[in-house]
Structure formats: C-alpha cells, structure tokens
Symmetry: D4
Subunit: 221 residues, 8 copies
C-alpha cells in the first residue's frame, strides 16, 4: 500500500489505534487502511470527516461492525470500549449549531472507554441555563466546551470548575468570526485558568485528549 504507511504500533504505544482522517482520502483508500488496522487487531477504529457516501462504502466493507454518526460525520469500526476512566467527561455546547462538533467529540470519547454526559445550547446569552447545570459540570473529570461566535463559554465554565477544560472553537458565526478565529483567540486568552484549546472544529482531538485526562496515570491510555 504505497499511499499509506499505517502505524500498527499505535494502540500499544498510545492506548488507541490510529484514527483515519477521512477528508481527502477516497473510499477505497479508507477501506484499505481500515482493513489493515482491523487485521492487526487495532479495534476500535475511528474514521472522521466522512460523508454519507464514504460511510456507505465502509458499511459495505465492514457491515455490522461499522456504526456511522451522521451529525458528527464520524464512524467507528468495532465496539466501543467499556467505560474504565477516572470519572465522567461532560461535553457542553454554546448553541445548537455547535452540536456536530460536539458529537465528534462524544463518539470519540465513548469509543475510547469513557462515560460521557452531553449538555447542549447553554451559551452565556442566557446564563441561567448554564448555572442550572452546575452540579453536572462539577461532577466531571474533564469538560469539553464547544463554542463558536465569541467563545465566551469556555472562560465562564473555566471559572466555575476545578477540572481541566478542553475548549473547542467552532466555525459557527459569520463576519468577524472569521471561520472560528474569534472563538479561538477568545479561548486562548481565557482569563480563567485550566483551559486549553484545540484546533477549530476539532471535536475528535478534544475527545481523545479528554479521554487521556480521564485515564490519567493509567498505562497506555
């Protein structure tokens, strides 16, 4: 397979198999890489940023073994692991439009052995909605805060909890949101401590990071 050089040691080295970034790869390429991973026992295998068409091609190849989550454009080959982390990961979004990015994070985290609680549409324009969920927020071992526009959600949560907050800026917005830059900068400059940031719309990255935090100190998670 000249076009790919699959990393078959990753499950052992890092506690999770290589994830297939589906964008810019053909269905055939994805299936061939996935087969290589599955044959090497690297399950579950996540495939991110795939449309319905690519999902169908993978379904054809792996049948029931494959589950597709259309909102988050993510699929999984093989079973998700049973939750074995320290505690719970809470995924919060500012608005309804941020849910696709959140779902990518949720599927990722659940696949890697984490209990996940989702809280959607609690942006700071109506602060009481967020404050009503304070107990849930404080029950987390890691929080993923997903927000576009001005991204203030991350700072507000960061000031309320004691666990690490993984902030995910989204490209939701228009004009001077510049495709997520406003939220990204906002989150990088958070006045609250304990907040770190991943790439714009990178729900997958947030999910894997939160999983590592939720497995801190455990070997190979």
């Amino acid at each position: 397979m000249k076009f790919a050089n699959v990393d078959l040691e990753r499950l052992k080295r890092q506690g999770a198999a290589e994830t297939i970034f589906g964008e810019g790869k053909s269905s055939e390429q994805i299936v061939r890489i996935a087969k290589t991973l599955v044959e090497a026992g690297q399950e579950p295998v996540l495939v991110t940023r795939i449309n319905e068409e690519k999902a169908k091609a993978i379904k054809a190849a792996f049948s029931k073994k494959f589950a597709y989550f259309p909102e988050g454009r993510i699929g999984r080959i093989g079973k998700k692991k049973s939750p074995d982390g320290i505690g719970k990961i809470v995924v919060v979004t500012a608005g309804t439009s941020d849910i696709p990015v959140a779902q990518e994070a949720i599927v990722t985290a659940e696949s890697l052995g984490n209990e996940v609680l989702a809280i959607f549409d609690v942006g700071v324009a109506g602060l009481h909605r967020l404050l009503a969920r304070l107990d849930d927020l404080r029950s987390a071992s890691a929080i993923i805060a997903v927000a576009g526009m001005e991204g203030a959600l991350a700072s507000v949560i960061g000031g309320l909890v004691a666990c690490p907050v993984v902030a995910v800026p989204t490209s939701v917005g228009y004009g001077a949101s510049f495709g997520g830059i406003a939220a990204l900068l906002s989150m990088l400059n958070s006045c609250a401590a304990g907040v770190s940031v991943v790439n714009i719309d990178n729900g997958f990255g947030a999910g894997i990071l939160a999983s590592r935090i939720n497995h801190a100190g455990m070997k190979g998670k």
Copy 2:
C-alpha cells in the same frame, strides 16, 4: 493657527465641544487649541491621552479651571455639567488593569452631564462577583463594559440586562491577545444582542456614546 482648524460649531451641532486628542500634539498646540475653544464658550473641553508633562502645561495656562485625572490620562477644562440624563451609566471592568480605560470613560461621561457608577474587577473567572451586582447593572440606562484578554464580560453582561451595552476592548493581555484584537473580535461576535463595540482602549468614545444614549431624544446631546 495653520496647524489646526478648530470646529467651533460642535457644541451647538452635537451637544459637546470638540475634544482635543492629545497624542501627537505638542503642549503648545494643545493650549492654543484649548484657548480657542474656551474663548468661543465651548466648555467643558476634554483633553485625552496626555501625560503628566502636558497636563502641567495645560494647568499653567488654565490654572484652577483645569482638572487632570492621571490614571485615565485625561483632563478637563471647565466644570462638568450637572447630570441631566435619562438615568445612570454603569462602567464595569473585568480586571484591575482595565481601570485606566474605564477612567477615561468615566471622566468623559461625567463631564457631559451623566451620573456614573463604577464597578471594577468583576471578570467572568469569578462569576459570583458580577452576579452580586446584578441590581446595579439592571439600574443602568447604558452600560460600558471594559475588558481585555478574551473580553467575555461584554457577552455575559449583554445577556443579563435590557439596556444598550457599549463594549470597550482593552489591550490588556499578552501573546495571542494581539494588543486587544482577541477582545475586539470576541465583542464583535457577541452572542448576546444589544452589544456594540468601539475601538481598542477607546474609553473616551464609549463615554461620549453612553452619554448620547443616556440623553436619547433630548436636543443636541
């Protein structure tokens, strides 16, 4: 006076005299412009962005008529007007370092006939500090929200009140705050309605705008 073309109609046209932007002008230039304004009966005259040295020169020329406010680097020649607005202007800062910009706004608003209430250091990293002042916030006819770093304060206040919120991004911060760009973008993309933005560190502009809002419908304010 070849170097300046003083606008002697502004008090009548816009309800406030021309303000002297002190940066990039010599003490002598400032004094000469100020005299022209005072002689034309355009008091009070504000002078912004002046250091101690320029303040001394103006003091020498106008004596007791001149008051200097060093933290905000702003001075006023002549008396402030008695409050005659619709209600109260509330000026809020996220942190201690934002106070100089806030003071520029406060002196401006007070000079133009407004009652002003100041609330400092209530950034969103400790949300209870802000929520404790909710009654004060809701008593305003206009709020000036001054914040650097991620500027989340403006959105949070915007979601809590029914009056116009004038957001002032400040250059407080470092790294990816880019001298106030992060706060500026954050405020422009506020998910809360009723928020508008002035230039970075532009306390003066916020003060004059809040004054106009607080005098809405009154002639020439």
Copy 3:
C-alpha cells in the same frame, strides 16, 4: 428538545423574545423552537438568515401569523409592536447592494416597537445626496449606518448628528475589502465620536441595539 434550550425568560428580562438564528438549523428545528416560544407567549419571534425554503416551512406551521421579508432573509411570527419609543430610527445605506443588511435592521427595529425611516444609496462618492437629507438625519433618536467598501459613511454621518450612530459594516466590495474587514476597521477608527460598531452584515444586531437606544430608560426595552 435535546438540541435546544430555549430561553423563555428573555422577553421579561430583556424586553424582546429570543431571536432564532436560522443559519445552521434545519427547518424542523426552527419550527420546534418557534413553537416553544410562541406557546410561552414570547411574541413576536424573529427568525434571521433563512432562505425561501425555510421560510416556506415556517409559513406552513404558522400560516398568517408569519411574515417573510426575502431581501433581508428575515421572518417574523406574530405582530410587530406599535411604535412606543422616544423618537425615530433612521437607517441609511451607502449603496444599493447594502440594502439587504439594512432590511434586516429595519424589520428587527419595526418589530420591536420603533418608527423607522429608510434612506438608501447616499454614499460619500456623491455627498450632495447625503447632505440633502440632513434634516431627516437630525430628526433621529438613533441612526443605523450601513456601508461596505471603505465604510466612510459612518464617519461622515457621525460628524453631522448628535444622536448615537450604530455602524454596520457590510461584506459588499471585493479585493482588499476582505469580506467587510476594510469597512469594519474604518468604522472602529471613526474620527467622529458617538459611533459604535456591530459585526459585519449584522443588521439584526444593529436593529435591536437601536431599539434599545430608542427606548432608553424605559423598563425592559
């Protein structure tokens, strides 16, 4: 409704119901959120950034209660409020291409109980067109200035009137207008006082802010 967390206190808290941002939401989601708001007595409900197709779906659900304004891609469920503000809001555009953004502002302001006067295509390249409307401009309690390209309109109006000016940069232009950045920066740096800025193409935000200014001091506007 897991995907949304409707803010049913907003009418009481802020004098206007939650507005539904239609972009990135499905027709079904919009209708469900709208029904929740209407059932809670939060009329009128504005829905912004919707195309003809989404407008049809809302029409199907609310029938005569719903009015759609295609140029501004905005709709309203329920009647607009009778004008009860301090004075009049004047909405000005620099060119013909800025009208869609202006219409979003106009529908928003009219829905919230404001008398609105529209003046289109009076950009500074033909200054006499603007100066011919000086009396109208000076009759406003708030002005919304909508302009793309270099956005000079906001500064010129700002120098002519005594009321607050809400500047809306638009994405009209090409090349170094960078999708509205040139106009945005121009407006943020206005040499005229009393000008504040909202996000690029944010007619809705300008409308709600002008309405708040036009109701300054009135409870819950």
Copy 4:
C-alpha cells in the same frame, strides 16, 4: 480596596488560590491583594510576571514567606504543597531560550502539589537528544512542551507518548515567527492527537492545567 475584587472562594472552588497577574499592577496593589488572600488563608499565593523591583516590594512585605524565581519572573507566598498527584509532570523545552517560560510552569506546578521533571534544550534539530529521554517522557502523567520558532517539538512528543501534552508556544524566534504565532499555529494543527495549546508564553496556564490533569478525579484540584 476599590481597584480589586479578590476572589476568596477560589481555593475552595478550584483547589488553588487566585493567582496575581503582576503585569500592569503596581507593587502596592500587588501587596494589598496578596495580603487579602493570605489573611483569608488562601496560601500558597502565586504572583506572575513580576520584575526584580516588584519582587523586592513583596519580599519587604512577606519576608521569608516569599520566594522569587527570577528567570521565570514568578514568586510564591507561602509553602509549596507536597506532591499528591497521580504521577509526575515532565516539562520539556526545545531550546535554551524557552527556559524562562518553562520555569513559570515548573514553579506553578510544584507549588500546587506536583512532582516535576525538567528536560531542557531537546529540540527536533537534534532528534537523538529527545529520543534519549523517551523513558522519562513515557513516565509522565502529563507533559508540558515549551517551544518557539516552528514549535515542532509538541507534535513529535505527541506522537511518542500516551499522556496529555500541554503545548506552550513561546515568542522565541524572529521574522516570520511573528512573536509566537508560528509556533502557536503549528501546535494547534498538530498531526498528533492528545495535544492541546495555551496562550503564547503562558507557562503559568500550562502549569495549572498540568496540575489539574495530574490530580484528575481528586476533589478540588
């Protein structure tokens, strides 16, 4: 104390006292805030971004209780907590010039009850230096990767370990490093999973976040 609104609940709420950001505050302001915190039993108190002069003023006020770390321009009032975390935090720098930022992270993490191992000057231009420390890297429960210029260190470490990697871009570099933007973007786009990013030169933020990861699941850390 009108200029500050000290958050005296933070130790209880978030497991660490409010940290004093020393930049833009006077020595007197710092000392007064610090005293308020110490009197409320919120030790240890960290003071970041202070020069020698401010350090002397704090020393004068707190005497032996205060320790200053000049390279990282950070000080601590009160004793550091005994290590009580899950494991060890490893702090890695790409070059010698990145050490000041690393030291801010180290002092922060050590103060909050963490064992810290420092590995300096192992940038990717001489990869064998990094690979020689692979066992140390793999012994961490969290890694802080500090790098300027192109910031490749974070990605390379991210590919080698299974624990969370907190990447800190530094302003080390010149020309197209744009004060740390190059490293920041590089880290945000890391091809390795498990990497998140804090603000440029934000050693403090990295330290507190790594501490929270290293105390994942423990109450109030």
Copy 5:
C-alpha cells in the same frame, strides 16, 4: 563606494535625481552618496527620514546648499526648481497629527517644480471645514489626501473633484488602526473613482507622483 551603487542616470531617465532614503544609513554614508550625486550634477537631491543629528552632518558637508525641514524629517541639497507644471498640487490633511507626512510631500513636490497649496485639519468629523475649501480643491491638477484613523477623507475628496487623488494613509491612530492599516484599506476600497494609494506615511512617494501627474506629457518629469 562598495556599500552603494548610485544611479547617476536617474535625473535624465526620470526627471528627478535619486532620492536618499536616510533611515538605516549612517550620516557618513548619506554624505558620501549625496556628494556623488551633486558632483554628477543631479541637483536638487532630497534626503528623507533623517533626524536632527543626520541633518547636522549633512549641513556640515553642504553648508548653505542644504535646507532641513524638521517636521517632515526631510532635507534638500540644492535649490528647488521653479514651478513649471500644468497647475497646482493641493495637499490636504485630516488632522493636525498628519502634518509631518504632509510636509514630506510638500517639500518633495516643491523641490521638483510644483506650486503647492496646503490645507490642514479638515477631517470629515467637521465636514463644513472641508466644504469651505471646495474651490481650492477644484483648482488642483492633483490632490494629495493625507489621513490616518479611518482615512475617510480620501473618499470624500474623491467624490468632489475631477483630478487624480493620491491618498496617503498615515499611522496616526491607535488600537484597531493597526499602524495605518485601517486607513490603507479604507483608501484602497474607496467608493469614489480616481483615487490611488501609496504606502503608509509615504509623503515622499505621494509628492513625486503628484509632481509627475502635474507634469503629465512633459518630457522627463
């Protein structure tokens, strides 16, 4: 002279001698280059961006032949040419702080044989000041419009006159003026035709260009 390769054909080829850009050159280098030019009969020689110290060194070398204009930080060796252009160049500034850039343009244009009329401090915040000079503006064969902040002056003048307008953005302003970027973009996007732009603070470039326009069709101007 290894460090410089003086262009001794420029007077003949382009109607004006090579100008010495003084920034980043030592006094000695400037004097040596100037001597080479003068000896080759290339007078008058302009030297731009020089401080008092460098001006003194040039004075020492050329004595009465040299005139220094401190506000514009520009000097001239040799006599200015008698006006021999088509008409008059009008140089306009928005504010007092833009005068140094204007002066660089004025000295340049006058040296190259142009009649120049200066109009200062007529920015659009007080439009009547500009309109009062309409006859002067319309008497020009070329106009140089010098403005910082939002740079609206160029568009407004562009709409009033029929001659070419050379727009010079200045670095006057703060915050989101970004050292002249706001004015630069504003001028590039001017809605008025007939406006072109030179680099930020480039009074020299504007002067030479206006001179060429004012000598259009004449050989070697």
Copy 6:
C-alpha cells in the same frame, strides 16, 4: 426608484458619468439605473462586473447602443469619446491570466477619450520581453501595470519610465498570494517612485485614474 439614488451631476462635476457596479445588482436594477443616466444625457455609461446574462438583459434594453466585452466583464452604453488626452495610456500585464483585469482598464480608458496601447505577458521572469518594449513604455503619459503573483512588474516598470504608474494587483496566483495580497503589498512597497496602487482586480479604477492623469489640467476630466 427607492433602491438607488442616481448621481446625475457626476458628468458635469467629474467629467464622467456614474459607473454602474453590476455585482450584487439585478438585471432589472441595472437597466433602470442605466435608463435614468441615459435619459439625463450622461453617456457613455459603463457597467462593470456583469456576466453574460446581465449583458443580455442590457442588450435587450439598449440594443445597438450597448457593447459588451466579455473577457473584462464590462459593457458600455453609448459611444466612446474620441481621444482628447495629453498622450497615450499603456496597459501592461505580467501574464496571460491578468488580461481580464487589463481589459476592464482598457475599455474604461478608451470610453473616456484616451488612446490605449496594450502589451500583454511581459512578466519579469523573462525580462527581455519587457525591455524589448521600452520605447513603447516611454511613450506613455500614464502606464497601468497589471500583475498578480509577486507583482514585481510594477517596480521594474517604475524604475524605467518617467510617467505615473498605476499598479493593479490581481488575484492571479495561489497559496501565499492570498487572493492578491502578495501583489498588493509588493506594489505598495515599490522601491521605485511614481507608483501608486488601486484595489485588487480593480481595472476600472485604474482606467479612470489613468484617464484623469492623461487629461491633467483639462477641465472636468
């Protein structure tokens, strides 16, 4: 016509009728504006940035009076004026892909009474091609230099001639050309004097400016 406020004085005031910017206007709007201009005797009328479809609609309304130039996406209603300028305008492009922008400039300049000479594809990668046309370049009263990518053409021509050079950056290029920013910055920083710049892809603006230069000193050109 509520949507437009046609400037019927422009021909008299500025020597050329208002040009209709076709982008963002419907065919019907364009035709109505054009009719207003034609009825007021403001011919010729230029219509820029129109596609084939809009061109057809204008053709239907004005028949033979209308000429369309598809490469430059520009049309003219009415006859072009006879050349009556000082000399000749030379339009130069760096590459074949820059020709559409050049054609917009050529049609504009020819319509306004200028003789135009076009020289295409003489970019600096093959310098002999440009040098072979030196006599033509030096015969111009104004040169329009059209180039994308690095835009070096403007500087090279600027160093060879004595007339004003109007530089037009184009969006030709990819990657770090950023849609014309690279060429724009290059041209603004030209080391050759006498070069000024218009907006990216703004052939029309260059044409009208060159025409004004070529009519310098003539009334109302």
Copy 7:
C-alpha cells in the same frame, strides 16, 4: 498570439523550457503556447494545474507525445530527460493527502533529468516510520519535504540530513491551518538549518529547484 509572449530562450538560458501554468488559461491557449514551444525545440514542455478536460485537449493535439499524471494534475509533452544529475532527489510526504503535491514535484524533477525516490506517509505522529528510512534520506543530494497541518516534517528531516531540504507546505488541514499558512510559517521558522521554502502546494517549484540543486555546477541546469 497577442495573449502570450512565449519565452523561447528559456531552455538555453535556464536549462529548462518555459512551463505552462494551466490554471486560468483555456485549452486552446495552452495548446497554442505548447505548439510554439515544441516547434522551437523546447521539449520537454510541462503543463501544470490542468484538469482531465484540458488534458484531453492537449492529448488531442499532441497524441502520444503527451503524458498526463492525474493525481498531480500535471502533464508533459515530449520525453523526460535521462537522469544526469549529481545524485538522487528524495520526495517525502507527511500524509496520504499530501501525495498530489508530491506527484507534481516528482513529475517535474523526473522530466528534467533526475532520479527520484518517493517516500509517502511518514509524518512525525509516528516517528519510527520516518526513522526507518534514514538511509534513504541520507542518500539524497536534495530532499523535497511535503507536509500540511503543522509541517513539522521539514524540521525533523532538516535535523537528520546534510543535503538541502526544499520544504513544500500544503493546504492539507482545516481550521487554524488557514489553507497552509500554519505549515508555511512552521517551515520558514525551522530550527534546523538547510531548509528553504516554496509557495503553498507548489510541487512544481520544488521539483525544479531540487533539479537545479542536483545539477549544481553543471551548465544551464
């Protein structure tokens, strides 16, 4: 051929014929330029950035003489030269998605008389894959490193080898990769010496440069 000014001396002057940049040129234009080159004996002729449709048109004109490489969207008219360089060019990609850019480089280099070795998908997230090819890397006389996202590959290779490394940033990535800017800045700031950079996605430029390096000191290569 008015639209193009073919450089028929380039083969002699620079050792390779003019390459036809296919983007923005019609099939007919490409064929006509190609014929001019072929008739002048300037083979082989490369045509870059062409889609299937344009490739067909060229095939129709040149039949067997033309070879098309669809992944790299590049074609060649005439035979590739026999390898006559100093050594071998090694082309490395970080991921599968970078292969199209790499192929453009490979076809270019092979056409110009170079032996090329391709190594794909050896990004730094799985460092062992790269280290496994160290001998191959060290056998090169020039290396082309092709990477998107954070572009760390160039620095890591730069630290391992002694030959020149030509870094090609690609637009592979999303969010804060900003279409290749992140990789571009990363490569420009490489901490490893011996690395230089070409434009984003510019495989052709890298290929020709590597060929020149591989023919260093040979006449006209």
Copy 8:
C-alpha cells in the same frame, strides 16, 4: 550544563558544527556552549545575533581564535575552511540597508568553505545596475538574493540565471512592508522558477543552505 544540550554529533552528521544563536542567551551561556563545542573539535563555531558586548566576552575567552563581524552581528571561533565547493556563491542586495543581513550570509558561507562574491545595492529601481553584473550572476553555483521593501530582486534574478536562488526577505522598509512580510510574500510567489525562501532577515540560514547547494553530492556538507 543544565540549560543546554549541545549537539556534538552535528559536524559529523551534517558537515557543520552546531551554530550558537546568540539572541536570548547570556554571554556566559554562549561562552560555555562554545567551549563545549571547541573542546569536542567542532570548529569553526559560528555565533549569530550578538552585539558588541557579547562579542567582547567571547573575545576574552577565545582571544585570537575569535573574529567578530559587527555589521552582520556574527562571530566565528576558529578558522574558516578553505573553499572546496563546486563553484562560487554570489550574494546580492537590493539596497545599502540590506547589507547587514547579507554579511551574516557571507560570513556563514565563507566559514563553511565557499568562495563568495558580493554585489550590493543593485535593486530593480535602477535595473541597469543589475544587468551590468549579469556575467557575475551567471557564474554562480548558487545565488543569495537579499531584499526588503517589495523584494522584486529575487524574481528578476530568478528569471536571469540557471542556478538555485535563495531569497532572503529583510525587514527593511516601513508601513505596509510589515517588518518584511511584503518581501516574504513577494518572494514566495515569485513568477520565476528556482527560487526558494528563508525566514525574514535570516542571512545565516541562507548562507548555510547556499553552502550545501555548493557542496551538493559531497559527503557531509
């Protein structure tokens, strides 16, 4: 030496010792690192970006072994190698102000065993100066083109020669040169093939790269 991890294998691995980047390192740190390198036989050792004061400290430690080149702020410990490359490296600058960057490149290249020819102040504003040196340019095995402002020099040279051109953008310029960004983008978008780019002001990087090109195919250069 905890602060540094000197790479003692670099001479063997890459044909040149580790260079000490002097900025941000103390004199003491520099001397200690240098001694480690010298003791390991890694001469000559280059030290870049050092001021007079640091140069004195190194002189004190290494005496005659150390040579300092103040204009380029670079020093060398040990003898330069005898020229043993394929041919000659030609270093060209656009202006006098670019010489310091050029000197850094020259000292670097000469130290590593290259014959270097310097050609200064031949920018494109006076093209005949460059064309007069065409034979010298064509005699090079590699050319280093150093230019600020619009950086057109690199493209023009790139079109004239057949060898690799290493372009070095400099921070010379003002306004929209943005500290070298204009030249950087210009060089990255060069329409001439065979040009690659290093970081702004990175004379050292250009020198080492040119040396590698000039030793292409030789072991460990």
